[in-house]
Symmetry: C2
Subunit: 170 residues, 2 copies
């Protein structure tokens, strides 16, 4: 079955996970939730909507996935303290495979040091971080730069999901 990896940690932004996840499942993809601890249940920012982690980064390979989703909230910052997750993101991204991320998600790409020269958008609070990482920040509802699809906030989800599904079909 076609698979999409979802990088998820505690305090994730609920809609930024659940809405793309539903769209990917409806399109026939199986989701594999990758996190810090296999079997852990991670909760959203309101301590609701537990999601079970299927695998740690060392269990998976970039080859397993047709796409990678990084929802926002505080989850990306939680995940980037785990070196094996950062290494997985770097290995995946440098293969130019589709990566979809929104809000605080690009924090993981900053720590993976893969953003130099890339164009993206993100949540307001991390704009200086992505610029300092050598990326070109633009304020648009969705930005597609080769393999990378980015948006700013939950308001952008409809166009983010549409652009992500289009990228998977290229």
């Amino acid at each position: 079955m076609k698979k999409i990896g979802v990088l998820l940690g505690k305090l994730y932004e609920e809609s930024e996970y659940s809405e793309p996840a539903k769209a990917f499942k409806d399109a026939g993809y199986e989701l594999v939730h990758i996190g810090k601890e296999k079997g852990e249940e991670v909760f959203d920012k309101n301590r609701e909507n537990p999601v079970k982690i299927d695998a740690v980064a060392k269990d998976v390979s970039p080859d397993d996935f047709m796409g990678l989703l990084i929802p926002g909230g505080f989850s990306p910052d939680v995940l980037r303290s785990d070196d094996s997750i950062v290494d997985f993101v770097r290995n995946y991204f440098t293969l130019d495979k589709p990566l979809f991320t929104i809000c605080h998600g690009p924090q993981l790409l900053v720590t993976a040091e893969v953003l130099r020269g890339r164009t993206l958008t993100c949540y307001k609070s991390i704009i200086v971080d992505v610029k300092n990482a050598g990326a070109n920040y633009v304020d648009r509802e969705v930005v597609v730069d080769r393999n990378l699809v980015t948006s700013r906030t939950p308001k952008d989800l409809p166009v983010f999901i549409k652009a992500s599904l289009k990228k998977l079909n290229e």
Copy 2:
């Protein structure tokens, strides 16, 4: 009365607020809690220990304070989406007045763009951010660079508090 400003937002790291706060009060300082909304009660990462915000950034001046404390947790990221808070931090910091921050606190200094050439420590997940901001990151329990006192995690609190009190007495 001698005052210390405390920049506090929701999901702060409890001990990184309460332990320095107690030490400063014991040393005779009045604390002024600065946040996004006057009168708001902000909670720690476990949704406990509400603290009432005394003032927004536009209500205060760097001249009001002998020191500024920025506890960690997700609070610094929450605060840096508020331009007036970022401006206040920049104005305060460029006067070379004592600033004490731990864990994720330096995120506010990254967004205020005041870290170039400065030496500091911080929580693991933001190391790349502070390096990209032009700072010299070092892995030590406490780092004192002129006006700036930094530590990494709650484990460092005893030395962080000791160095902060020493800086206030210089």
